[in-house]
């Protein structure tokens, strides 16, 4: 018998006549149909460090609220099992953090997301630079976790920071200092390419004082909240260029002198993959400052919502991609070639029927 034709019909046989069966069969499908309509928007669901971003359709609500605070959070409606607390959402070119336990009502799941207003940057004890988008709000009305007799008062502010509960965030220790200052982007405008560090700008710096690692832990998900209190700017607080990228750090970083990879490219015979045929092979090439080929282990990233339906094999510096799914015909995806600290190179690959 044909493999395809019955798929044109509903996968459920509605013989019982009970509403319960109809609800079981069609509740989630009904929501998925709503995702095909105009009320759904394109978002990207991202992991803690934004290294994996999956484009999906979602319904976002409460986007036309009345009060200032309410405009900083949204309700996110998705098919059941799609998201968890602590994930980031890229919605209308802004990053949002899903907070609160995500649950469903047998039709869809709902998450609450709050706007991320600052890209928090710090250096770990093993000298890695970590960046996490965070929701930063004033917490001056709360206790900052420290008591004592103060002999002087120079600055006083404390902030509540919401971020993902990944390992690097959870291992932040008391005393860790951050630059949390929007003026950094203003200072950067005055920097030219020759600036590799700058510690002359006045900055707002904060010190980690209070954290709870279990308050917002939901066993399989969660987010992380901690409090920072304003402190005095130190001599080494400022702007540092590491591997060609600028960071605002509260400690002078160890800058490794790496061999610069000036360019990279993806070599291929054809930007098309033919459905059902042999895989397309894409080869990574890296070049040093003199244009000589260098041997770097490539990192590949496929950006599309059907990456799990592609057949992927890695062979030395190549990635071999094939498709055996007719439903993917004429769909395109982006293949990114990444190397540590450098701008990604990408190509657009189209899956075609062979004709």
């Amino acid at each position: 018998m044909s493999k395809e034709w019955y798929l044109l019909k509903s996968p459920h046989s509605q013989l019982s006549g009970f509403e319960n069966d109809a609800l079981n069969d069609f509740s989630q499908e009904g929501f998925e149909e709503a995702l095909d309509s105009g009320i759904a928007v394109d978002i990207e669901l991202c992991n803690y460090d934004l290294s994996v971003c999956t484009p999906i359709k979602a319904i976002v609500q409460h986007n036309v609220d009345d009060t200032k605070l309410k405009t900083l959070s949204r309700e996110l409606y998705l098919p059941i099992g799609t998201c968890k607390a602590g994930m980031y959402v890229k919605y209308k070119n802004r990053y949002w953090l899903i907070v609160g336990l995500v649950d469903d009502n047998a039709m869809y799941e709902k998450g609450i997301m709050v706007i991320c207003n600052y890209l928090l940057t710090w250096q770990t004890k093993d000298k890695r630079i970590i960046q996490r988008w965070a929701n930063v709000t004033s917490a001056s009305q709360y206790n900052n976790g420290e008591t004592g007799v103060k002999n002087y008062d120079v600055r006083s502010d404390q902030l509540l920071i919401l971020t993902s509960d990944d390992d690097d965030s959870m291992l932040l220790s008391t005393g860790q200092r951050f630059i949390i200052d929007r003026r950094c982007s203003v200072y950067e405008k005055a920097f030219d390419d020759s600036v590799t560090h700058s510690t002359n700008n006045p900055l707002l710096t904060y010190r980690f004082t209070r954290a709870d690692s279990v308050l917002y832990n939901y066993q399989d998900s969660g987010h992380y909240e901690f409090m920072v209190v304003q402190d005095e700017q130190h001599m080494n607080d400022g702007y540092y260029v590491i591997d060609g990228k600028g960071y605002w750090l509260c400690e002078e970083p160890v800058i490794k002198n790496k061999n610069m990879i000036l360019s990279s490219k993806i070599e291929y015979e054809s930007p098309y993959i033919y459905n059902g045929l042999e895989p397309g092979t894409f080869l990574a090439k890296f070049y040093d400052s003199e244009g000589n080929e260098t041997d770097i282990k490539p990192q590949w990233k496929i950006c599309c919502d059907f990456a799990d339906q592609l057949n992927i094999k890695y062979l030395d510096n190549s990635i071999c991609i094939s498709s055996n799914n007719k439903k993917l015909s004429n769909k395109s995806f982006k293949l990114f070639l990444c190397a540590d600290g450098y701008e990604d190179t990408y190509i657009t690959i189209t899956i075609k029927g062979f004709i």
Binding site: M1, S2, W5, N275, K326
Partner: protein, 161 residues
Amino acid sequence: MKKVTTAERGRFKEEINTALYKSDEIKELLLGDTTGMTASKIRSEFQKCVKSHLFIDDTISETKTFIFYDVIIPIIHTQIKECKVIMYLICHLDILDDYVKEGYYGNRADVLSQMVENVLINDDDKSSSFGIGKLRLDSVNSYNSKHFYGCIMEFDVPTFR
């Protein structure tokens, strides 16, 4: 009433082209020895010999073997459509009789028609991947022109409207 779609024309062509390409025997008959050729070279040479439109007399003079085919929908009923695949398997007269393959009979065009039959009809998975039920061989007629000889195979399969 359900809207009619003609998407099958393109979809069936992709199925047919892929199935023919996957057959090593057909590739060998059309292209000869492909050892040492890259995959993309084989694909492009194959595309020169297999065309998803019908053959027009006197437009091709190369001494090669060709497959020309098209998908038509001659009848559209209220619920189903009749789809027909018309396939020209033609061979230049100069190379018609210089091909022999174990298990096959006749000249180059005859052998090719048997190979196509194996791929599209005798392979259950493939023949079931078109419409409702299986692709069925309806008729085989001969084709004769000044430079080419071959056969015209017609297949049919119903599919939903």
